[in-house]
């Protein structure tokens, strides 16, 4: 096993990996940008080195700076987390050149999975169902009409060169085809410098379900169940659960076996995730493969008892998996809510800033929190808004849901806005509770008007009135307006032996 590992990431995932290292007796080395000097991943590491700068490009995306730290501190391996350099094939190559173990797949399968038309072709050849469509870019309008007629409407025009919604056009019928083609091509050209476009059948109201796999360097690949990821907002996952309430055991098994075939077909190693689009009739199609640890990996850990980061490190160290497929029997259900620093009352605008107060709800049975922040920390605006992940486990889906709702009701964070109230709404929505939802759910929910509570309104008025009274009584000890730091006010209030309104 490695003696020392550098974690080339920040936030909750860096904390997650650091904890695994500490538990395994491996020295975890953090790297940090200027604004992350006192970040949680730095505080929990055993060694920490500054990268300088605060933008991603200056710090967590700077391959050579990171490799220089790894060399000088004597790290034997690098864990990339997710995001940043996690799926950067060049970084993997550079690690290989430097003799550093990269904790993830080799550069070749990573590279293959990074390009859309290539991955479709490879998967199709490996016998993995892909979304019906063309395998090659469309050259001209004649090819286009023929291919469109073959695939059928509605269909999607997609850029070959990349994703993220760029160069993507929905075409409902033949009349929209020509204009859609031109627009998709020009957007693809400006986004990826490559105007190539291909056709995929449009699957309406789909499920987005992914399968976790582990592959060691000795020819064993296993799957660890699936995750239902259909709860999305603007193509961003917000809540995941396992098992999927939509799947039956037979489909689940077939998807798992397909994911293993997909991974084995490309010589995949380490932890990875095969994402599928599933239509209303439970037909599933390969969407993409995430060649890294997923944000939502904890729900799989909760039901299988398997520590995926520990497994990643063991695989990278060349240790054979001691798991057989038949030994993996998920127990119960798990859900994850992604707590973002975004304002759900204000169009999900980012909300960086200082966390003035934090009541973390990770107490009691079946609740887990993977957080990257602490009270007093200034959440920087330079990076992803993910603050923490709240995970609930239950023997049944109902138990897990109730635990999550309870934990959310205990969550209190001030200073910045978070998506906690948004999750409370989702978790009291009958359609979600019934397990009957697809990728359209959140957009539909947001159109509904939330129920007004006249009681809560009255309580708000009472609180405001009592607060005015309290302010008046404490006026002597502080000036209630102006540029006084909230921390000072808090300090002064706490210094009263009795803070009640007496």
């Amino acid at each position: 096993m490695f003696r020392k590992i550098l974690i080339a990431n920040r936030g909750e995932i860096a904390v997650r990996v650091i904890r695994a290292c500490r538990e395994m007796g491996i020295v975890p080395v953090a790297v940090y940008s200027e604004v992350d000097r006192a970040a949680l991943h730095v505080r929990l590491a055993e060694e920490a080195y500054a990268l300088g700068g605060s933008s991603p490009a200056e710090s967590y995306l700077n391959i050579e700076k990171i490799l220089a730290v790894a060399r000088s501190c004597g790290a034997e391996a690098v864990h990339p987390g997710y995001g940043f350099l996690a799926e950067n094939a060049r970084f993997v190559e550079r690690c290989e050149q430097e003799g550093l173990a990269f904790i993830g797949p080799p550069s070749r399968p990573m590279d293959l999975m990074g390009r859309k038309t290539t991955s479709r072709k490879v998967m199709s050849e490996a016998g993995v169902p892909i979304i019906p469509g063309t395998m090659e870019p469309i050259r001209d309008e004649r090819d286009l009409r023929d291919a469109a007629a073959q695939v059928g409407y509605p269909l999607l025009l997609k850029a070959s060169g990349g994703g993220g919604g760029k160069g993507l056009r929905l075409v409902r019928d033949a009349s929209e085809l020509a204009s859609g083609f031109n627009m998709a091509r020009s957007e693809a050209e400006s986004s990826f410098g490559d105007s190539a476009v291909y056709i995929e059948k449009y699957i309406d109201d789909p499920h987005h379900i992914e399968v976790q796999i582990l592959a060691d360097h000795h020819g064993r690949t296993v799957f660890l169940g699936e995750r239902e990821c259909s709860l999305q907002r603007r193509y961003q996952k917000v809540l995941e659960e396992t098992p999927s309430p939509f799947l039956d055991d037979e489909t689940r098994r077939r998807m798992g076996e397909t994911a293993v075939r997909a991974a084995a077909g490309i010589g995949y190693r380490n932890a990875g995730t095969v994402e599928f689009i599933v239509d209303g009739r439970k037909n599933f199609y390969f969407l993409e493969m995430n060649a890294r640890l997923q944000v939502e990996h904890p729900i799989t850990e909760m039901v299988t008892g398997i520590d995926l980061v520990k497994a990643q490190l063991e695989i990278a160290a060349g240790i054979p998996l001691d798991l057989k497929q038949e030994d993996i029997r998920p127990q119960g259900c798990a859900l994850e809510c992604r707590i973002y620093a975004e304002d759900p009352d204000n169009d999900f605008l980012p909300s960086p800033g200082r966390i003035l107060h934090l009541h973390n709800p990770a107490g009691g049975f079946g609740i887990r929190e993977d957080s990257g922040v602490y009270e007093g920390f200034v959440v920087p605006f330079e990076y992803d808004p993910l603050l923490a992940k709240l995970i609930a486990w239950g023997k049944t889906r109902d138990e897990a849901l109730r635990r999550m709702r309870r934990a959310l009701s205990e969550y209190r964070i001030y200073g910045i806005k978070t998506t906690v109230p948004f999750f409370k709404r989702i978790l009291s929505h009958p359609r979600f509770l019934g397990g009957d939802y697809t990728t359209h759910f959140i957009a539909d929910m947001e159109k509904e008007t939330p129920i007004e509570s006249s009681e809560e309104k009255r309580v708000a008025v009472l609180a405001a009135g009592l607060k005015s009274l309290w302010d008046a009584r404490h006026e002597a000890s502080y000036s209630s307006r102006g540029a006084v730091s909230p921390w000072k006010l808090r300090g002064r209030a706490e210094s009263h032996s009795n803070a009640s309104l007496r």
């Binding site: 980012p350 330079e382 990076y383 209190r412 708000a460 009472l462």
Partner: protein, 163 residues
């Protein structure tokens, strides 16, 4: 103590009368409640209303307070007039443009001194990997456009002015 408070134009008449033991008798629009309040800190109060428990978070502004009850936000105002005058102010000569979040300027889309239309994007500000268009709040001449692409701006800083 008597006061009148508003939530979205709805009027609430509140009377608070102190009892022994730190409890209050509250009359709210004619309905009576037994209330006590424990301030955990100046932002958070543990409220007990007729035995029922509410953990309430309040902002510190006294005139328009954001009050969170069970995670729901209510804007409690001290004067019914404040909303109206706020709108008026906005309509008449609002021109300084600032944002509540810090961020990095990605691109400037209009030139200093040029004419801009209401709703026209003036710059793109990036925070937490999200790009946000900052638009002109009214038509007019673009002034005090100090920021350049790549520059970091603080929360609340004036980004530009439309005259």
């Amino acid at each position: 103590m008597n006061m009148t408070l508003w939530i979205e134009g709805e009027e609430f008449r509140l009377r608070l009368e102190e009892k022994e033991g730190g409890r209050y008798r509250a009359a709210l629009n004619g309905r009576d409640h037994d209330v006590s309040a424990e301030f955990i800190n100046p932002d958070e109060v543990l409220l007990n209303v007729d035995g029922r428990v509410f953990n309430v978070t309040l902002s510190r502004k006294a005139d328009v307070r954001s009050v969170y009850v069970n995670g729901r936000r209510f804007q409690v105002e001290r004067t019914a007039a404040s909303r109206v005058s706020g709108q008026e102010r906005g309509r008449s000569r609002r021109k300084d443009v600032s944002v509540s979040m810090p961020g990095r300027v990605v691109r400037i889309l209009a030139e200093e001194g040029s004419q801009v239309m209401e709703g026209q994007p003036v710059m793109i500000l990036e925070a937490m990997k999200m790009q946000n268009e900052i638009k002109a709040p009214r038509s007019g001449t673009l002034r005090r456009l100090g920021a350049r692409a790549g520059v970091t701006v603080e929360a609340g800083a004036v980004l530009f002015t439309v005259e």
